[in-house]
Symmetry: C2
Subunit: 269 residues, 2 copies
């Protein structure tokens, strides 16, 4: 088993947003090797058909399996909603975790929380994936959703706590303050960048923020412990992308929270 | 020639932004039939390679040529910057106009204007296409550029004159106020939606706003007059897209400024 313990964890997303998941995994599991794949040439997935999303997700899964990963983390809400079953089948014995299940499980585990708020992209909100995942755990929980289309471009512009960011969050979240939600799931991999500013904008100071990136990192740690697959000797981070878009490095480092060396471009088509 | 006079004008863009060009053409030439193509399945073009952009642009050009258009308007800044020559070659005798040339020609035609400001997407600004086009007319004109990545998502969210829009414009444009620009080219097909609010944000009230959509509509009218190809009996608008994304109708009508009937989805792959 020594060999499998030392194998890397594979994490993927349609773009760079999933680097917030990589960041959370590095913090929770600093001795693991990580391979990240961001499909920067084909982002965004949210506007594509389910069939296309499944095709892309399976190409990335196969790429990670060839890299001999011991676990796959789906760090993309769109893929989690549309292609999770196909990825689990393709991965065989390799465990697969996804951000939607992890965030939803975290939300229902909070004691006495009966009303959950979810924010995400238009595609994620319209897919109803969070309400379905939460209701699979507990069908009696009330759920309120709000699409926040501007948060992704704001995060990519680096405007995460200026007046524009705060004003935008007020437009999207002020109704949540009145609605009585007790927790708020950040249902998009870009949103952890707003984790500091959101509590400043919400008038109700008791709303618990649920960061899907931290949730999936915690689930990954628990799963590796269960399977006795924790690595004690790693800590490498390798980043693969399908294209190197403008400002990639600046953006990637903002999401990962540290500097990024040796990014490799691979074509999966 | 009667037949050619009655032929439609073809307009295309990577998405729905080019509907602002269609709107300007309808206003300038209300008796023309128009065929619009928006490549909504493959938007955005700005992050794609030049080779891919050329391939897509030629597919659309061929689609329009099969529709027997008498003129092609490239309503996409990215395509104008990367594929104009290829489209002109493919179009043969059919005249081809593009937003960058039209806006640039308009800017240099203003008397005593020596310093032009250009705002656009990151891809358009980095391509340097506006400075090159303006300097081809007059190499002595000073040009200042500013990328405004958030304006496209703001326009698509419909936030074109709220506090977030104004605050965002201040972040992007306040330096222009100090720089001494005399005119400001709206170098993205989404930006005409901010034409009313931009003068309210600029402290220098003498800056002339140059709307590339209106510029290309005026150029189209002049060209059709020259060629004696003006239609007196048309006025139809047909819209083709490669995918019908979420909120398409709401968005499209905001950009076109009127209701939209019978949108047809076609696959060019």
């Amino acid at each position: 088993m020594q060999n499998l313990k030392n194998a890397p964890i594979g994490i993927f997303d349609s773009g760079i947003g999933g680097l917030t998941v990589a960041k959370a995994v590095i913090e929770a599991l600093p001795n693991e090797d990580i391979i990240y794949f961001g499909d920067t040439a084909r982002v965004p997935y949210g506007i594509k058909s389910e069939e296309t999303i499944r095709t892309y997700a399976l190409q990335i899964t196969n790429f990670l399996l060839k890299k001999k990963v011991k676990m796959i983390l789906i760090a993309c809400n769109t893929v989690s909603a549309s292609a999770k079953e196909e990825i689990i089948r393709a991965a065989g014995d390799i465990p697969v975790l996804d951000v939607i299940s992890a965030g939803s499980r975290n939300a229902v585990s909070l004691p006495n929380h009966r009303h959950v708020g979810v924010i995400g992209t238009l595609a994620t909100v319209n897919s109803n994936a969070y309400p379905e995942a939460i209701h699979a755990f507990d069908p009696t929980i009330k759920i309120s959703q709000q699409a926040c289309p501007l948060l992704v471009p704001l995060a990519e512009e680096g405007w995460i706590d200026n007046e524009v960011a705060k004003q935008t969050l007020h437009y999207y979240l002020d109704e949540f303050d009145e609605s009585g939600i007790q927790s708020l799931i950040l249902g998009c991999t870009h949103y952890p960048l707003f984790k500091e500013v959101i509590p400043k904008v919400l008038k109700n100071g008791n709303i618990e923020i649920i960061d899907s990136a931290e949730s999936i990192a915690a689930s990954a740690k628990t799963k590796l412990e269960e399977l006795d697959l924790l690595n004690q000797t790693g800590g490498d981070f390798q980043c693969f992308v399908s294209d190197r878009p403008q400002r990639f490095h600046e953006l990637a480092e903002r999401f990962l929270g540290k500097s990024l060396n040796g990014v490799e471009v691979v074509n999966l088509d």
